[in-house]
């Protein structure tokens, strides 16, 4: 790894003007300009059993037991905040984000400089009536395992966007717990695997209360001998009427040696609900390719345009930000 200061400098180049930031090194917050809006405390974790009794997975337990510190980021005011992780040493990273009630928050988490085989656990609690745009960008070069859970309370609106562009084996688990009424969740997940390795994603949405809505869209791309396994589980518990659950996975397999396995599952224990899922995975549509080429674009330029178009929802209103530009440049 380059000198830490150098890495932090390039991490900071991803921050936009007027944006607040927190830089984490090996799971510890080392630099921030957001102390007006945010409080950062160590080892004062939220106890999620107040909200949800659940059995932690082995990975979660492992991280809870082994992480040297547990950082709590408490957001107290409206803010545009970017959290950037720089990590080359810590094996376990454990942190929580607590967003107070009635806020408008734009939050971006970047795992851009994580070079070791880190195991990461992030829990996000959003208090009632807050509206949150939460964006993630993953560019792990080590064999990362990451477990992110969102705990949503009443009248939350969460717009979650994530793009994964990892160059190694990678396991991702995302849990969305809709715990109270009138929650509206929209998720856009873009998974690009060109690593030549296997990457697994477990994407779970749990409707644990009546009158909650979720819409989960995954766009997957596998290229260069890579495998993507995407398990999408949508669950509506018994006693939770009037839930609306949608999930959709689309995948493009670019070369003949890659594969995308989409495994959607709906577990519905209630009658008065709406639930739908669908998956369509395949090569680039030859008809579309032909259409673009018939206007003079080369095969390569056409494929590039199709793929850019495919992942464009992630960049909507974002392509001019520093991070947006960085990612677009990176995935060219």
């Amino acid at each position: 790894m380059k000198q830490l200061l150098e890495v932090i400098d390039s991490a900071k180049s991803l921050i936009d003007e007027n944006e607040k930031y927190i830089i984490f090194n090996d799971g510890k917050a080392i630099d921030t300009n957001a102390l007006d809006e945010v409080e950062i405390t160590l080892n004062e974790a939220i106890d999620f059993s107040d909200y949800l009794r659940k059995n932690d997975t082995d990975l979660e337990k492992l991280i809870d037991q082994n992480a040297k510190v547990k950082t709590l980021v408490s957001i107290k005011k409206d803010v545009d905040l970017k959290i950037i992780h720089v990590c080359d040493d810590a094996k376990y990273i454990n942190y929580q984000i607590d967003i107070a009630k009635r806020l408008n928050v734009n939050l971006t988490v970047v795992y851009g400089y994580v070079v070791n085989d880190a195991k990461i656990k992030l829990d996000v609690l959003i208090h009632h009536k807050s509206v949150v745009n939460f964006r993630e960008y993953h560019e792990f070069s080590g064999e990362a395992k990451i477990n992110t859970s969102f705990y949503l309370l009443r009248f939350n609106q969460l717009n979650y966007l994530s793009l994964e562009n990892n160059s190694n084996t990678n396991d991702l688990t995302l849990n969305m717990y809709l715990l109270q009424q009138d929650i509206s969740l929209s998720c856009l997940n873009v998974a690009i695997n060109e690593s030549g390795k296997i990457q697994n994603q477990n994407l779970n949405v749990y409707h644990l209360h009546e009158d909650t809505a979720s819409n989960f869209n995954t766009y997957a791309i596998a290229n260069n001998n890579s495998i993507l396994n995407i398990k999408n589980i949508g669950r509506i518990n018994n006693g939770c009427p009037r839930c609306d659950l949608k999930q959709k996975t689309k995948g493009i397999i670019v070369d003949t040696y890659s594969n995308i396995e989409a495994d959607p599952a709906l577990i519905i224990d209630e009658n008065d609900v709406m639930a739908s899922h669908g998956a369509s995975i395949g090569a680039i549509d030859p008809e579309v390719l032909y259409y673009l080429m018939s206007r003079g674009l080369t095969k390569e330029a056409s494929e590039k345009l199709i793929i850019e178009a495919y992942i464009s929802p992630y960049f909507k209103d974002y392509s001019e930000t520093n991070l947006g530009k960085y990612i677009l440049d990176k995935i060219k």
Partner: protein
């Protein structure tokens, strides 16, 4: 320039035993507007697709030459850049790519390295073409054909043609799905392309579109071949009598697609 099709035989890739074009010959020069008419299912779209290079079709013999150069050796994009344009019968919808970006990229491919489409001129030309075609002004910013009506898709093909200025445009049933007003607009826009540098092949099985386009040559395509060529008088003849007289004369069985044959319609007279 000259586009020459010589004794062309074409089959479908998936079923090479099925020959669709059975020795078709046709020469089109720039400065000329040709109409190809014929009943459904006789190979008009196959001809258009083969000229463009659609990989679904295989040329088993014959040749297509563009100014003497072998077009069949060229890839689809090379043909486009060489000046061939196909307005497709069923244009694709492509989400995430705006019309404006697409057309600009397509124009960019015609420039040499280091050259760029001048942005201001491009926007002006695009706006003008959109207005000429009486299209919705927000259209350039919408995704390619996504959520367009049938008629809007067809106009969008003509928009691309106007912007790309090909030497030879093949318009495959550009009239289907157009109402009377749209038909007039599209027809007039095609007619206005007329120039010594532009040749066209207008494929249709109704005469309506040809009311607005001043075609110089008319051909009838049946059973995979050009069976008659002439001037505008052929249009009137087909309009009045349909194709049955030709079938009789040529000793052809009814080659309409079975579904249509059951309905017993006479190709040219049919209205929706």
């Amino acid at each position: 320039m000259r586009l020459e099709i010589k004794d062309l035989h074409v089959s479908i890739l998936d079923d090479q035993s099925k020959e669709i074009l059975k020795g078709l010959s046709l020469t089109v020069n720039t400065g000329e507007m040709h109409a190809i008419m014929g009943p459904n299912g006789n190979g008009k779209s196959t001809l258009a697709a083969t000229i463009m290079g659609n990989p679904k079709y295989v040329v088993t013999s014959g040749e297509i030459l563009l100014d003497g150069k072998n077009l069949l050796k060229m890839s689809v994009d090379e043909r486009s850049r060489a000046g061939i344009f196909l307005a497709m019968q069923n244009p694709m919808e492509i989400s995430g790519v705006t019309n404006a970006d697409f057309i600009k990229s397509a124009m960019q491919t015609r420039l040499s390295e280091g050259e760029h489409v001048p942005l201001f001129k491009f926007i002006k030309a695009l706006d003008k073409s959109v207005a000429d075609l009486k299209m919705n002004p927000d259209l350039p910013q919408r995704y390619i054909n996504e959520g367009f009506s049938g008629g809007e898709k067809k106009r969008n093909e003509i928009l691309q043609m106007k912007m790309l200025k090909p030497h030879f445009a093949i318009l495959d049933e550009i009239d289907s799905g157009l109402d009377v007003d749209a038909l007039k607009i599209v027809g007039e826009n095609i007619n206005n392309m007329a120039s010594p540098d532009f040749g066209s092949i207008v494929i249709t099985h109704y005469q309506r579109l040809l009311d607005y386009i001043d075609v110089s040559h008319v051909h009838i395509l049946m059973d995979g071949k050009i069976v008659r060529s002439g001037g505008k008088e052929l249009i009137t003849k087909i309009d009045q009598d349909g194709y049955d007289w030709l079938k009789l004369e040529l000793g052809l069985e009814d080659m309409e697609e079975p579904k249509k044959a059951v309905l017993g319609v006479c190709g040219a007279k049919k209205t929706k």
